[in-house]
């Protein structure tokens, strides 16, 4: 009766208890110092294990949380392709216009740009419209190469090489190279350009 009671009471400790208990009777009666020693040993063991466990966790975090692992550029291929696609598409749209369709370009800029990039763009666009109208200028921009230097869940930095084709009525088209550093933010599932710097 006694033994079944014990079993149901503490099923978890069962396998260990016979061992521990087995030594107990001999020494228990003999010396309290042995018991104290063992208690100290157990405490030390627990402390050692806790310290080791914590240490391992900290090391694991250190290994994971380097700047290299925070940056998802290329390592997350899908997100990298997405941001390159969205940004290339946006640059192509906002830097392409003809004398007839500057309004459309302005509209798409509002969708595709944000923050500082939109303010700069808005400030410049009056000039662009006038120039395009007066000189019958058509600008077509193509992204020729784009690379992501930093990528997180919500932000990205890209380096973009562009070709810009200028066509004035009655003159041969000229192509200019441009290099831009672009900062983009993910908003509502789309990458929006928030800063552009010429390189």
């Amino acid at each position: 009766m006694v033994s079944t009671e014990e079993k149901t009471e503490a099923g978890v400790e069962e396998p260990k208890s016979p061992e521990t208990a087995g030594d107990e009777p001999d020494e228990a009666g003999e010396s309290g110092s042995t018991r104290r020693l063992r208690r100290t040993a157990v405490v030390l063991l627990v402390v050692a294990l806790v310290v080791a466990g914590a240490g391992f966790f900290v090391r694991a975090q250190q290994v994971r949380d380097t700047p290299a692992t925070d940056n998802l550029a290329l390592s997350d291929t899908e997100a990298t392709t997405r941001v390159v696609g969205d940004v290339s598409n946006a640059l192509g749209k906002v830097f392409s216009y003809g004398p007839q369709d500057t309004a459309g370009t302005k509209e798409s800029a509002k969708q595709l740009l944000g923050g500082k990039a939109l303010r700069q763009y808005a400030a410049l666009f009056g000039q662009v419209e006038k120039q395009s109208r007066d000189q019958k200028l058509t600008l077509t921009t193509h992204v020729v190469h784009a690379g992501v230097s930093r990528l997180s869940g919500t932000g990205a930095h890209l380096l973009v090489f562009l070709d810009q084709v200028y066509e004035r009525r009655g003159k041969p088209a000229t192509t200019a190279a441009a290099q831009l550093s672009v900062t983009a933010e993910l908003r509502d599932g789309h990458w929006r350009i928030v800063d552009i710097a010429s390189r």
Binding site: G22, L45, V50, R64, H145, S149, T175
Partner: protein, 176 residues
């Protein structure tokens, strides 16, 4: 046997449970560490950053040349490259030397921005794009500054990433 059960005091039970928990957390911590160390994405990110740093430095080296330190400059060209590009530079070295000694130019380059566009961790191949500003100073006249955009191929060697191909990103290919 009766005495055996009496020694099972709450303290011993608590100690055993505590030890088991501590051992469990230590094991989990250890596993977490092991996993972190063998996480492919962590290694990949580091490789990408290494490749970019090496690529930017190599592109800068190959656009830097001082006619007064020709040997040093051309050695650095050779050290930064491997494969075909390396061979071209070795083969063309005496020609460059003569050219630069006559022109007495000093070229310096500053990398403005760079990005890795492709990386194959396994085969040790990568592509980089680099925007840089090159300043060429001739004995007479003002220094000529030009913005340049370059595409490079990198190959991993026993001494790290090196350029195996380098060229200007062409302008006008996509027009029309």
């Amino acid at each position: 046997m009766a005495r055996v059960r009496t020694t099972k005091n709450p303290l011993v039970v608590a100690a055993i449970v505590l030890t088991a928990l501590a051992a469990g957390s230590a094991a989990r911590g250890g596993w977490s560490w092991y996993e972190a160390g063998h996480d492919d994405s962590a290694g990949y990110g580091q490789t990408r950053d290494d490749a970019l740093a090496a690529g930017e430095q190599a592109v800068q080296n190959l656009n830097t040349l001082d006619h007064q330190k020709l040997d040093q400059g051309l050695d650095s060209w050779e050290d930064s490259t491997t494969g075909d590009l390396h061979q071209q530079l070795v083969d063309g070295r005496s020609g460059f030397e003569k050219q630069i000694q006559e022109a007495k130019t000093v070229s310096t380059a500053k990398v403005l921005s760079g990005a890795v566009t492709e990386l194959d961790d396994r085969t040790g191949k990568a592509s980089v794009m680099v925007a840089l500003r090159i300043t060429v100073t001739a004995p007479r006249g003002k220094p000529a500054v030009k913005e340049s955009r370059m595409l490079g191929r990198l190959t991993r060697t026993s001494e790290g990433w090196k350029l195996s191909a380098l060229g200007q990103a062409p302008v006008g290919n996509t027009a029309g």
